[in-house]
Amino acid sequence: MRMKIALAGNPNCGKTTMFNDLTGSSQYVGNWPGVTVEKKEGKLRGHKDVIITDLPGVYSLSPYTLEEVVTRDYLIKERPDAVIDLVDGTNLERNLYLTTQLLELGLPVVMALNMIDLVRKNGDQIDTQKLGAALGCEIVETSALKGTGSMEAAQKAIALANKKQAAKPKHQFSQPVEEALSHIASLIDGCVPPEQARWFAVKLFERDEKVQAACSFSADIMEKIEAAVSAVEKELDDDGESIITNERYTYIAQLMKNCVHKKTKGLTTSDQIDRIVTNRWLALPIFAVIMFLVYYVSVTTVGTIVTDFTNDTLFGEWIQPAVGGWMETVDAADWLTGLVVDGLIGGVGAVLGFVPQMFILFFFLSILEDCGYMARVAFIMDRIFRKFGLSGKSFIPMLISSGCGVPGIMATKTIENEKDRRMTIMTTTFIPCGAKLPIIALIFGAMFGTEQGGWVAPLFYFLGIAAVILSGIMLKKTRMFAGDPAPFVMELPQYHLPAAKSVLIHMWERCRAFIIKAGTVIFVACGVIWFLSNFGWADGGASFGLLDMEDPLVNQMDFSILAYIGNAVAWIFAPLGFGTWQATVATVSGLVAKENVVGTFGVLFGLADAGETDPGLWTAVSGMLPLLCTKLSFLAFNLLCAPCFAAIGAIKREMASAKWTAFAIGYQCVFAYAVALMIQQFGLLLAGAGFTIGSAAAVIVLLLMLYFLFRPAPDRKTALRRAAAQA
């Protein structure tokens, strides 16, 4: 018989380590349906028929955060056969709060008292016999990090599941509350499974809206419940939710007094580290140094070396020529060789080139997260980021995105709040990545006829940052992101040394997901773009077929399908000043990889090998985009519009929703269009051109943008009313 065991516990209690310990390598990582919360499952080592589900780390089963709702829905609706409640022994008091709630679910529960080695090292004593008896569940002492006790806890859980022996919570609320609870339980008798009656009674006492809505009791029953709750509230002079929470903590404080003996002493090592690391004066310099190191190693030095190696040497010199040579020996058709070698391997190679860099980056991020510094990053940066609707943790994705948007987007995993995470995903690619730098260099060369000075690229980082801030402010006021800011009441976990195994597993999971994406969506997209740009109507439109890109006389790309499409849609970009098919085609080819924009111009102007520093190419681009404002408009659009396929793939994965992905890409394109339009049209006006329809459009766009920036945030009541009307 298949058995499901759920692993529940607070964040930072060692749950991931325990999960890895229990399941070994048999893990499946996905998302909970419809949300961006990660779901992990795996088979228990040595037990093919026991599935362990790693629930999101939560502090409570309240109905407010996404993680909490996912967790309790799973526990209530899916009914695992047993629950292992992982508890951090060094932080027992707060951890037991969740335990008291889990015990009421009517499920078999084993408590794993984790980090027991640290508890002993600190000289503290926990009387597990007494604690277990007082709580009403079995306790196993574990140290997931050292690998002790985990299997024993799992065995106990299996044994309880086989006996179907639900936990019997010993905790009693105060007299009036207990009376109300049993009254509520009798009212809903028959409507809910008997073993869950207490949980439902407590939730109804708390006036939990999610439970009220899900149960749909008759108005009569609801009224009686309400009467019972109000009576107690009046008697105890507090609201139902607060009464329950207060009594739980009072009970836990009592347990702590009876079962735990803490050795009182001064500051722990962790406290001492924290005194320096988040010190008022040292915190920012230390933060800057750590971020610089992460960025320098994973993006600038080692990261670039491995990416260049994968792109230029592994794919460019080894795989592509080898496959090309092999296909020649088997007499494959030219078009097929082209498709496979340049289109598919070339395209996917360009994307896979990021994988080694991602490995390095995620290595650092895992360490920062595991050792507890990530929470401090949020602590230090919160003040700045919440001004425009983001969280302190958005800093890291933004920083990484200045190297490459793909790992930047994937780094958003560390942001707990779903709204913040979605907004960070949407805005982080506005920061120019490494592949956009050649475009900047090319346009700058075309503008001034010299290579750019060192100050140019930073200028466009400011454009990116401005785009992030403006978008943050505008999006925050839309209905999708509106609402009270998420509470930032956040635990600052103890510092500890990260476990090598969990860092490695973490790293591998992230990269594997990306590789799979590259092998599917990106693979197809690259094939399509290759086909469109290499097939066409050669010889004056007489015959359809593969174009000879190396034809010295005629530039064959002019006849490609992509050129026809470019011609057909170029009018879209006319208001931005670059409504030529060449500029359109270059922009589209940027979807495969942004640096392709430069390469495409090279091919289109018959300067195939010209790079972004070639004066010939500068002249050609300058001829196509004669005005200064047009060059800037083209540049702005290419920097801000939809990112490359690899990044779109990352967005799709992190959003875990096609709708949100489309919204993100759509927003980026519209925003880029609006900015480019304003640059072009106001540029024309400044240059002395007359007021045209285009100028009028730019003025309207500007006014709209100002409106979205400065309109008052939709107030909560209207938002609630709307939500109610929809429901």
Partner: protein, 74 residues
């Protein structure tokens, strides 16, 4: 009436009342700040907000705007 926002670093106070409602209030309570709880204000973040407090034996970060909902007495 003092709130947690007004407390200086290094001081320990006791919670007398929680204001507000909904997710924020519940979150504050879930994290262990309930009536009668002792709170030690550890430090203020380098940019002046949020603050780090010690409650029930662990460290918690809370914004000043949120701390304003927590009435305390010395």
């Amino acid at each position: 009436m003092k709130t947690l926002k007004d407390i200086k670093c290094g001081q320990t106070v006791s919670v007398t009342r929680l204001n507000g409602a909904g997710p924020l209030k519940r979150r504050i309570m879930d994290m262990g700040i309930t009536k009668g709880t002792q709170i030690l204000v550890r430090k203020v973040a380098p940019l002046g907000d949020p603050v780090e407090v010690n409650v029930r034996g662990y460290e918690l970060s809370i914004r000043k705007s949120e701390a304003e909902n927590i009435e305390v007495a010395e």
